[in-house]
Every structure is written in structure tokens, then in C-alpha cells.
Symmetry: C2
Subunit: 214 residues, 2 copies
């Protein structure tokens, strides 16, 4: 069976995956891009923008897994747009006409709208569903490939709590955000169902991988 | 000037340094000893009990710093005893007649009592004071050596918030405790005043060091 995987999910030392005060001008609120600098700095990310250079060490090795063997992405409403994007009938996500997904994307929202076909193979589907329900739809659309769970933190937490995540890669950035949305809340004893590895990158980021025990 | 240092301060992935339900039988509540297994496993800890063996890698290297150049310890009421130890006039700490401090120890409590002289050079002093005030007293007692800030999390947090900690070593254990007392609350932007290094131990623990920028 295809796996449900989370990659390059960045959190602060105090466990926040996004800041406070999210808006059109500040997609991550007061966190800015500080949780993602390590990712933006990689060769993988540079190449997506057609740019040369970038880091080629352990950060890049993890970053590159973003694209490996995925047939679909599931994301939460909080990732797709700023608060209340549902009020804007023309909102089509943060990522422009040719989004970096190149696959079906299932957006969880309590206010679904018709699907939107974008350039480059991305189609947004909007569904009001439980984690189990949307996963069933996503798997059907993935043609046997894996399902990327793209965030944000609330969705990742909900899927973890439901036991639906096979692999989780967390990048812990050495900053204390103080406020925002936490990843770990409500996940007591998560370590009992996952084999966990940790590696510190020279960039200062700590990569943690959680592989579900069979 | 002597430094204020925190060593071997263990937290969970979600930032808890102690669990919920602290009692005489459960000094760390539902956390048990899970936050300290890496420390208990070291050669340094074994030797303190006169036992052979123990790990000799990076965990042990950090553990050994527990004793280097300290002239005094400051600890919070929550470390000295179970909840309401102040009601027991005979309570003399968790550590028996010959405690592992071998120095003056200043215990912060809103209900001070007379000092207690123990075996092996440890004397407990009980003070109702601000971080700045108790630090002044502790420094005077340290004879030029450093001041160990021994915990628990509330005291470490208060001293960090007051800008009084020169060096902090945190050992992050890959478990999700879910509840207890957090270290990082109220410390937004701590990284701006510290140089931070991270190293992952093969034991699964991540060691983070915070050295105050001058």
C-alpha cells in the first residue's frame, strides 16, 4: 500500500510550525521565513526556481525527498491561503499558475468549492472530510504512489493522532518562536509507535525522522 | 566574573522538563525517569554510585560537566522536594545524608527555613528572593567559582528571562510527554542572545548548547 509521508516539516525549538498573525503579506505570521531558511538555501530549492548553487549536504538530502514517489498531496485550509481565503472566489493558492505540486492536491476545508485545474499537472480539489475520508480519496488519485501530507501543523497533528502517518520528517530550527501553532500537542507517547532517528546538520537544524513501526 | 551555567537539563520533544502528577513516589510525575535515562546510563553517573561501566561517548562528555568548576548551586522549590515539602519540617531533599552537591545550595522557596548542613560539604540555604537577589548571595558563596543553576524548569526559565544564564546545555529526548512543565514558554527570540550548537547523540538524544553572546 502507498505510504503517507510528511517531509521537510519545520518547527521551532518550542514546537511551533507557524507563527502568529498569519496574513496575505505574512504567510507564516511573525515567524517569517525563519523556519524555512535551511530549506530555501538548498540546491533542491534553488533548482526549482531555475537558480544555480545552494547547499548540498544533509539539508539538501532531506529537501530532495519532497518529490520522491508522490502521486498526490493533502493539505489543510491553513496552508492553501491566508485566513478567510474562502471568502475570495478567485483565490488559487500561494503558488501561482504553475504550482510545485504537479499532482492532484486535496485541500481540506469546511467550505468546499469546485476543483481548479492549474498548469503543470496540479489540480486542486476541495473537500470537507475526516482524515480517513480524504486519505481514501487521495489514495485513489495517487495511482499507487505515495501520499504527501503537506501541512500545516493542525492537519499533520490530526493525521498523526489518527495513526495515519507512515513517515514524518521534522526539521527543528534553533529559534524560540514563543507563539503560533504547535505540532506536538495531543500526541503524548508518539514515540511508542515510531522508530525515531536524529541527526544534527551543520546548518544548526536538527533533522528527526519518524518511521512507523510495523 | 563567575558564570551561571545549566547542565544536563533534559526535556522532551515537546519541551517538557518534568511530567504531571509529581509526588514523593514520582519525582518527575508521569515522565518517570525517561528524560534522564541517557544521563543515568553514563560512566559519570555510574561512578557517582561507585559502579563500573556506563557509556563513554558524547552523552558522558556532557554529563561530566556537571561538576566542573562549580562553587554553588541554585535550585527551585520544585526540585528540592515533592509538592508541599514545606509542610514537613524534617524534609532534607531527595538526595540522602550525603548529597551530590558538595557545596552550598540555595533553595528558592516562599517559605524559608533555617539552613541545613549535610555531609560531604553540602549546606542547604532556603531563600525567598528574586533571581537577581539569590544570584548575588550564591556568587558570594561560590568563592569565584561558577554557579550551577540546577532546575527545575520554572527556575531555569525565570533566570533565562532575566538574562542571567551564561551557558545552557539542554538534552532533548525523543519522546512526546504531552503534559507537565515546559522550559521554553515566555522565551521568544532567545536565540538572538545566544550562540547555539546542536549535536545528535547515537543514543537518540539531541544535545543543544547555548552560549551567551558577549
Amino acid at each position: 500500500m502507498s505510504e503517507v509521508r510528511v517531509h521537510n516539516f519545520s518547527i521551532s525549538l518550542d514546537g511551533f510550525a507557524t507563527g502568529e498573525g498569519l496574513s496575505l503579506d505574512a504567510p507564516f505570521g511573525h515567524a517569517g521565513e525563519r523556519l524555512h531558511e535551511w530549506y530555501i538555501g538548498t540546491r533542491f530549492f534553488h533548482a526549482q526556481d531555475g537558480l544555480p548553487g545552494g547547499t548540498v549536504g544533509v539539508d539538501n538530502a532531506f529537501a530532495e525527498q519532497h518529490e520522491q514517489n508522490f502521486g498526490v498531496e493533502i493539505m489543510g485550509a491553513g496552508k492553501f491561503g491566508p485566513p478567510n481565503w474562502q471568502d475570495d472566489p478567485d483565490w488559487k493558492g500561494w503558488w501561482g499558475p504553475n504550482p510545485p505540486f504537479h499532482s492532484p492536491v486535496f485541500v481540506l476545508t469546511h467550505r468546499p468549492r469546485p476543483s481548479i485545474e492549474m498548469e503543470g499537472g496540479t489540480t486542486y480539489h476541495f473537500v470537507d472530510a475526516t482524515p480517513h475520508e480524504v486519505l481514501e480519496q487521495a489514495r485513489a488519485a495517487a495511482n499507487g504512489a505515495d501520499v504527501r501530507l503537506g501541512g500545516g501543523p493542525t492537519v499533520v497533528r490530526d493525521f498523526l493522532a489518527a495513526g495515519l502517518v507512515d513517515y514524518l520528517h521534522v526539521a527543528q530550527v534553533p529559534i524560540v518562536l514563543g507563539r503560533g501553532v504547535r505540532l506536538w500537542d495531543g500526541l503524548e507517547a508518539l514515540e511508542q509507535t515510531y522508530a525515531i532517528e536524529t541527526i544534527a546538520s551543520p546548518s544548526g537544524v536538527t533533522h528527526l525522522t519518524f518511521a512507523k513501526k510495523s
